[in-house]
């Protein structure tokens, strides 16, 4: 065995960076050189002291730091999604077209100083959340939260969810990352309308938009805006019952 043990070997030994073969060489050397071994022990001790003193729990992170981390996380998540599903751009286009073309009444009911376009990004979020929910509902391994606790949702997302018709049964509530921070998706078993998803998210502008329809494949979405909150209800059974439900919910919101 070579007795050529370098300074770097000793550091690598302390930091657990040695290959097994080299490890034996260094340990053999240390066994024969107690003074060097004592030095290594001192380094190990300092390392453990630093780990204990500086690796300990910190005070709770400030709110603004957690918010900044959440924003970054959401941003990176969507960057990743967009990279992975390049077709999202095409879907966004279809939704944008559908939004203008399929309003059943032929009118866009938009109040406010000017027509405020609903960002297609929001509709992507709503659709994505709806489809994810369908997948989740088929997976026994996914945990489902059936508690539609509006106060709790508001406390954690600052989204005030609407009250729902009494016959509707919420089967799952999820918080999703979306373009503007956290968003909420509730899966609802409605009876006559089948399974629908109610999606809510923050947006930048502050206007009122009456329930407006858009279609994508088999999915029909009605979205509306109150203040800076956008809502969307999506279901597979199209048309009037969903429209009535959307208006009924819209009317309950102040």
């Amino acid at each position: 065995m070579t007795s050529l043990v370098s300074e770097n070997d000793l550091n690598s030994y302390v930091d657990g960076e040695l290959e097994p073969a080299r490890l034996l060489v260094v340990e053999d050397y240390l066994a024969r050189n107690p003074q060097v071994a004592a030095r290594v022990m001192a380094d190990l001790r300092s390392r453990d002291v630093l780990r204990m003193a500086l690796g300990t729990a910190l005070r709770r992170a400030p709110r603004q730091t957690v918010d900044a981390a959440g924003r970054l996380e959401t941003g990176m998540f969507w960057r990743g999604m967009i990279m992975r599903f390049r077709k999202v751009a095409a879907v966004g286009f279809l939704i944008a077209v559908g939004w203008f073309a399929h309003d059943e009444s032929g009118l866009l009911h938009i109040s406010g100083s000017e027509a405020a376009p609903v960002p297609p990004a929001f509709l992507e979020d709503a659709l994505q959340a709806h489809r994810t929910e369908i997948i989740r509902s088929r997976m026994a391994s996914q945990s489902h939260s059936q508690s539609y606790d509006r106060d709790e949702i508001f406390a954690s997302t600052r989204i005030e969810m609407p009250s729902l018709p009494p016959a509707w049964q919420v089967t799952d509530v999820q918080v999703f990352p979306s373009h503007q921070g956290a968003s909420v998706e509730a899966a609802v078993q409605t009876g006559s309308l089948g399974r629908v998803s109610l999606f809510a998210a923050h947006v930048d502008n502050n206007v009122t938009i009456q329930p407006t329809m858009t279609r994508n494949g088999n999915d029909t979405t009605f979205y509306w805006q109150k203040g800076s909150l956008l809502f969307a209800i999506t279901g597979e059974k199209a048309g009037r019952p969903l429209r009535r439900a959307a208006h009924a919910i819209f009317d309950t919101m102040r």
């Binding site: 300074e7 770097n8 550091n11 690598s12 302390v14 930091d15 960076e17 030095r39 001192a42 380094d43 190990l44 001790r45 300092s46 390392r47 453990d48 002291v49 630093l50 780990r51 204990m52 003193a53 500086l54 690796g55 300990t56 729990a57 910190l58 005070r59 992170a61 400030p62 603004q64 730091t65 957690v66 900044a68 981390a69 959440g70 924003r71 970054l72 996380e73 941003g75 990176m76 998540f77 960057r79 990743g80 999604m81 994810t132 999703f176 990352p177």
Partner: protein, 179 residues
């Protein structure tokens, strides 16, 4: 949406804040540094892919913000604040251990920034040499020589003043960790 877990920035907050604390030597300054770094990271998300792991990328942004923006603002002047801000009392109970711990911590905090950064990443965060070098944007050889000098500085000053009690106490720290 399991994919969101691969961008678990919130889960990395504590390690980032610890690193920032070692860099700035102040808890309050560390919070500001991490916040600045997160804002910068948001602005340059497209840089992420080229670097590899999220952890390395975020640590390197904290580091760069510190080096580029913070050190200029006279971080040296804040040195005095640091020692009081880092409390070690809660970690060990007996006086001797506490004294030893405080000595080593003081020596660590007195290291030049670049050595302190290298030692923190490797010793406290247990980063591999490769990740630590990538975080700091330096060759592996440079990292190792910084570690070596940092350890020599801590070892050098503490040697020769060890009472048997201190040595016994220090051994107990290590033994306690392995239990």
């Amino acid at each position: 949406m399991a994919d969101s877990n691969s961008f678990d920035v919130v889960g990395l907050l504590d390690p980032l804040r610890r690193y920032a604390r070692s860099l700035t030597r102040s808890e309050a300054q560390a919070e500001d540094l991490v916040h600045d770094a997160l804002v910068k990271a948001y602005e340059k998300q497209e840089g992420y892919r080229s670097v590899g792991s999220l952890r390395t990328w975020l640590f390197s942004i904290v580091h760069n913000v510190f080096v580029d923006d913070w050190r200029r603002k006279g971080a040296e002047a804040r040195r005095a604040e640091a020692h009081a801000a880092l409390s070690v009392e809660a970690v060990v109970e007996d006086q001797d251990s506490r004294l030893r711990l405080k000595q080593i911590l003081d020596l660590f905090l007195a290291l030049p920034d670049e050595q302190r950064a290298a030692l923190h990443l490797v010793a406290v965060e247990e980063m591999s040499y490769q990740d630590a070098a990538a975080t700091l944007g330096i060759p592996m050889g440079t990292l190792m020589s910084r570690l070596s000098r940092a350890r020599a500085a801590i070892r050098g000053i503490e040697s020769g003043e060890e009472s048997p009690e201190v040595r016994r106490a220090a051994l107990r720290i290590i033994g306690g960790k392995d239990d």
